[in-house]
């Protein structure tokens, strides 16, 4: 973490910002994209914290599969 101090403040900040965006968006597809962005940033943060295996799992499962399930669910229901 000591290697790149700026990155270690910016990434958590961006995670929180994307979470707030999830809360703000009325359109569910937009909210899901914000959620996927949050997952990817979270995975980057895990990598910065020296947890590469968790980062891989978060990127693969958290960002990809969860987003896909959300998109399928939103398509079978309504978008707002």
């Amino acid at each position: 973490m000591a290697e790149l101090p700026a990155l270690n403040v910016i990434v958590p900040l961006l995670i929180v910002v994307s979470a707030i965006l999830v809360a703000r968006y009325k359109d569910l597809i937009a909210a899901v994209i914000a959620l996927a962005a949050m997952s990817l940033l979270l995975s980057l943060q895990f990598y910065l914290l020296h947890a590469p295996d968790v980062a891989l799992a978060e990127a693969g499962i958290g960002a990809a599969i969860t987003t896909a399930i959300f998109v399928i669910a939103i398509h079978s229901t309504r978008r707002t």
Binding site: I20, A23, A73
Partner: protein, 117 residues
């Protein structure tokens, strides 16, 4: 400054928890509530991984570390488990929401409920 850098993930955990609680308490759309739960899971995962972090440690995936400090492996194992559990609960929740929508034509928590009292 370095104190802030070290604590930045914990601050993010607190902020994420607040955002997640806000979503699951106020948003009436069921899919939005599930998103809140996913954010809460992310917050808890980040909390666990940050707990295991040690300054100057290396990732606990190398067997030959020649005595250097290692980041704690146990919280990372917990986080991996929680990620897998989280995706299965999310999938089940969304499946149930789709079923609720087929029955009632609504994804709103207030309009789709049938039981009270």
């Amino acid at each position: 400054m370095s104190q802030l850098v070290l604590n930045a993930p914990f601050v993010a955990v607190a902020a994420l928890t607040c955002v997640a609680c806000y979503i699951i308490m106020t948003q009436k759309n069921l899919i939005k509530i599930v998103m809140g739960v996913v954010i809460l899971q992310g917050a808890v995962n980040l909390f666990l991984v940050t707990l295991g972090y040690r300054i100057g440690g290396v990732a606990p995936i190398y067997t030959e570390t020649s005595g250097t400090l290692m980041v704690l492996p146990v919280p990372q194992a917990l986080t991996l488990t929680n990620i897998v559990i989280g995706v299965s609960t999310t999938a089940l929740m969304l499946a149930l929401i789709v079923l609720i929508y087929r029955h009632t034509g609504e994804t709103d928590a207030e309009k789709s409920r049938r039981m009270k009292g």
